[in-house]
Subunit: 405 residues, 2 copies
């Protein structure tokens, strides 16, 4: 065997296996009740609509373009649909502000690639989306803690970044029903993030993967909408909005999007041209057709189903979790975040749980850029039915109670 | 407007617009005969087979998995088909040697990301595939000239790389009917590349995008096959084989593959997980079904069509090109490479040609990592019919003759 580690670039040392991905394999074990995955319920996919969309493409004159190379910025009718959709969210924009990527995960990878030189600093919440840390890690950044409601001075961020040998480049956050906590940043918190970004002269990456999945409470304008309200036009803003069809239509097509000022979009298009030419033409056409015909009805269907599951899980947690534990009360999304008493370890609990209680979840530590958060874990309700939730949370509550002793 | 250039990573300065991509826009002008694009003829796409494949997926129990997230290494039945296919090419391998990417362009991006730290050296031919230079540029390498039949000493490469502040990391080449020249590296040249890689202890990236498109002459074993013959097992080899379905089935689905030793594949899988999770599930399934049912027949159909067009173009060049020009005689692929008399400039010729002769091609300079090659250009015969070829090459020949004077 060759010594490949000698040949790889230094960045490769930060590419490690994902705990969540390893855990997903457990979904196949029928004896385990899994709240680990963060995947949408396939029973809610608009499969009939997709079937029709692909059939229509093959029966139309567009079939040759569907199978051919296409432009790096993405399929124009889909981008046009997104322009209308964004306007409804308070984000007026033009076609050259919209860019199609192969899932919003690719958007995060490209943004890491665009902004981060080694030792630059990315601001992320503690905890944050694990996939964002994995995407950014390839570009060898440091991390510092973003606290949307907090009062840390811009200078303290600047100094910390400078000590690490780089500059603060962006603040990354998911403001709505974030993975992993399910929590939402309120309007004041969003405005403060914008203030901080303004003072540091950095970009804001707004991960809106779960934004459509609100079950109750009033919608809060996206950060990009708030910034357009300040600056008058999207081309004057520093917020880069990353959206996804994976939670609303289907993830298997790998279609997501970025909406941002034109100079950033132009650079991202060049980057994509060099990295994978373009996202699948036929899938962009299928997504476009399904979205055009019934996006709102599909989102309403998902909201109704997930909202009920969230209610069940919150009720079960209330019923079965012992004193000393606490959890978030999300207004949307797919996740609830549980905090165990200090000193307890979510990873150790998982090992015991798989052994005895037969319930899977994701230990929280991996979501913290500083390796803290050992006494936390994430549960997802998106793929669980009422009975599984009642039974699984009951078993888990008993296990935790016996651990607390 | 914000000063984004101040915020971007240093690597972004090397992301520039592609001349070829800009030129592709000319394909839409009906008054231009274009030999510029390197795209497959959509008239040859197996669209009926793809229509059936998508319909079958939606009518089967697999529909939910087709629309769902899937594993980063790729769809297992497609990887199994590739294992058989590679065995026929003299490359015995196992499932864990095969990895699906979103087009072989993505494979090149990932390999740049895996191997290249800034100032490392990549060995490429002069000229080489422009898309490879674009993919690698994001990782800020230097380039040195690979001459497959040549005799430059390993030390001279090592010293040059060291002077540029890094190490030689890999040799990249397309050994069969390469883009842009259409030329093939003979068996001795392939063995010499392996010898050099061995002495330098570097990887070999074999871009096999056009390998299936041989029209005459005897097939030469892939570099990876030659190395397996030396080393006994793929897991002992250093050659990384990048394959594509874009030239054989269809590019619009964005499905390509990498075949290599297991340690490299494992690292690439982790990289993909962080970069875009996985390639489109449904498209991998469709490609798998179409390949399984009739890959060889489809390749035979394409070969017959392109072979005829290559013959027409070679005959037209013979008939119309003035003395002082020369061109390659490819045994396959999509391209012929024309060399003009020294001092002439392909880019200036293109400007004049679009004005008067109304014929498009790609000036050669962009394919040279050192910026040389101004007196060359690439013509593609893949999308041209007999009449277009006769007329276009005739006009081009007259223009060049008048320029030579």
């Amino acid at each position: 065997m060759l010594n490949w580690d000698n040949m790889f670039a230094t960045r490769s040392t930060r590419m490690r296996a994902s705990e969540i991905r390893e855990l997903l394999k457990l979904l196949d074990r029928p004896d385990i009740i899994s709240f680990a995955g963060g995947i949408p319920d396939p029973g809610l996919f608009p499969d009939k609509e997709f079937k029709q969309a692909y059939a229509d493409i093959f029966d139309s004159a567009a079939v040759n373009s569907a199978l051919q190379y296409s432009v790096s910025e993405g399929y124009k009718p889909l981008r046009e649909w997104l322009v209308k959709q964004m306007a409804d969210l308070g984000i007026p924009c033009e076609l050259d502000n919209v860019f199609i990527v192969s899932g919003s995960q690719q958007g995060l990878d490209y943004l890491g690639k665009l902004f981060l030189s080694p030792n630059d600093t990315a601001l992320v919440t503690w905890p944050t989306y694990l996939g964002a840390l994995q995407a950014f890690n390839a570009y060898e950044p440091s991390y510092d803690q973003l606290t949307p409601g907090g009062n840390r001075t811009p200078d303290s961020y600047r100094e910390a970044a400078s000590q690490k040998g780089g500059k603060v480049k962006f603040a990354y956050l998911s403001a709505d029903f974030s993975n992993p906590t399910g929590e939402t940043v309120d309007r004041e918190g969003r405005e403060k993030v914008l203030d901080l970004a303004e003072e540091l002269d950095i970009a804001v990456i707004e991960d809106a993967a779960y934004q459509s999945l609100r079950y109750d409470g009033d919608p809060i304008p996206p950060i990009l909408a708030l910034e357009i309200a300040r600056k008058g036009h999207i081309n004057n803003t520093r917020t880069i909005y990353c959206g996804s069809f994976s939670k609303t239509l289907a993830p298997g097509l790998r279609v997501g999007f970025i909406v941002a000022n034109a100079p950033v979009i132009r650079k991202l298009v060049l980057m994509k041209q060099a990295a994978d030419l373009h996202s699948s033409t036929i899938n962009q056409m299928a997504i476009s057709e399904v979205a055009e015909r019934g996006f709102d009805a599909q989102v309403a269907k998902i909201r109704a189903a997930y909202s009920h599951r969230r209610n069940c899980m919150l009720a079960a947690l209330e019923k079965y979790m012992p004193a000393g534990t606490s959890w978030t009360k999300p207004e949307g999304g797919m996740f609830i975040w549980v905090t165990l008493p200090k000193g307890m370890d979510g990873a150790e609990l998982l090992a015991k749980s798989l052994e005895s209680a037969k319930v899977a979840f994701v230990p929280g530590k991996a979501f913290f850029a500083d390796g803290s958060g050992a006494n936390t874990f994430r549960v997802s309700f998106s793929c669980a039915n009422e009975k599984m939730i009642e039974e699984g949370i009951s078993r888990l509550g008993k296990l935790i109670a016996s651990e607390i002793g």
